[in-house]
């Protein structure tokens, strides 16, 4: 039995949260939010609230996982029990294990791991609230955290998902759009290398729709990358401005 299709786009072409089809959710990024970790970043994208943090390069534990010619990258993606509508058990689910793998692979290409053989670079991502597209927001935060930690990177990786709702290609699906929509395509992208490091899809796309969706995703990743760089520099710029300004006041 077909259930009635939920209207995700109204007569004015606006989505449930008032966005246009090609609009990103309001996004806020902050770097260096934790004291102990070597690098960290916090992201709010729509209702997503995610912290990513890095330890490393450091000694690999256990010793046998160490690689002779490069650093081992470890990645853990985990959702807090209170991050979703119905409380989730804290034990890692199969989905979290799969996402840990694809996120690691999305980030690993960007890391110059050959500079630190026999060490480990540990990425931990904790989702405090999830509302669709959390794996992309997680990659965006984790890559920023790697840069904050001073891990040498080819570039910072940005990620965004595109989907299909009520037959139309839409950017950055929220949770309800993902659940009620027809397709979901998360993408991670390195803008300078023009390299796609994460690509997953579920649902149904024609080839033409897919090409259109991919263009939209790449475009969004370029914008997100600019936000990442701004967030990374912001901390240093504000310290600089405060410090140099106080000097002028004193003289």
């Amino acid at each position: 039995m077909n259930k009635p299709e939920i209207r995700l786009i109204d007569d004015n072409g606006l989505r449930v949260d008032g966005r246009r089809l090609d609009e990103l959710r309001p996004t806020k990024m902050e770097v260096g939010v934790l004291d102990k970790a070597d690098g960290s970043a916090y992201i709010e994208q729509g209702k997503n609230r995610i912290i990513a943090a890095i330890y490393g390069p450091r000694e690999a534990h256990p010793k046998h996982v160490a690689l002779a010619d490069r650093a081992v990258i470890k990645c853990r993606y985990h959702m807090a029990p209170f991050s979703v509508e119905e409380r989730k058990s804290p034990a890692p689910s199969r989905r979290e294990l799969e996402l840990s793998k694809v996120i690691r692979e999305a980030l690993e290409t960007s890391i110059m791991s050959e500079l630190y053989p026999r060490t480990s670079i540990d990425i931990t991502i904790e989702v405090l609230q999830s509302d669709g597209g959390s794996r992309c927001a997680a990659i965006t935060a984790a890559s920023l955290a790697l840069a904050d930690a001073g891990v040498p990177l080819r570039e910072i990786v940005a990620a965004c998902a595109v989907g299909k709702i009520n037959g139309k290609i839409a950017l950055d699906l929220s949770d309800i759009e993902d659940k009620e929509g027809d397709a979901d395509l998360p993408v991670a992208f390195m803008p300078k290398s023009k390299a796609i490091t994460l690509l997953q899809m579920d649902g149904s796309f024609t080839e033409e729709e897919f090409n259109q969706a991919l263009d939209m995703a790449i475009n969004a990743c370029e914008k997100i990358n600019e936000m990442q760089i701004e967030a990374l520099k912001r901390k240093y710029i504000s310290v600089k401005e405060q410090a140099e300004e106080s000097r002028e006041v004193a003289t």
Partner: protein, 228 residues
Amino acid sequence: MTIFAEKKQLVAPGELLAEGSYFPGENTYREGNRVFASRIGLADLVANKLIVVPLKGCYVPRVDDFVIGRVVDIAMSGWTVDISAPYPALLPLSETPAARGMAPRKDLTRIFNVGDLVMAEVIAFDRTRDPLLTVRGRGLGKVPSGRVVHISPAKIPRLIGRKGSMISMLKKVTGCDIIVGQNGTVLVSGRQPKNEQIAVAAMLMIEREAHTRGLTDRVSEMMSRELR
């Protein structure tokens, strides 16, 4: 040949520094005709070499570095020392002054024990082997006392200053003895706890504002204010 970044400009990983036949120095990499930054830091051009002075990053040992490390384990013929690097360092018994004429079964803990802090020099390191240390040399050996401060290793050059100018100023103004390890571990000892506290505050200020201009004057002013 074009340079896209200004001297001392804050650059992020992946940002384009220059196009042309520039040599990619530390914290940069070359792809085809272009040189990019690989770390967050301040861009600079030294001779024909593009470099990025990093604002963050772990300590990578270099031969001849002076380091202050903590003994974490005792092995058959030496000690494992934590020098805050991604690799544990080894201090062999043969690299201590006491080694000469020492019976092979003598108790190693009589020289250094777990938890001791040692001043050492890196004598060997490459990425296929863990760093090797020596304490044979003037001013090297066990640290008997003092206050320990941990500073980000990327900020140590700024703490030392050009030709040691910054660290000399700190020592002179506070009257404290300050020994700086390249690995970010710093030892402070002064006669008054207040002077030690001010020296520590100055170091933390330098760590936070290493990338700003006019730092030397601001640090000097802060210390004079606190000493009054």
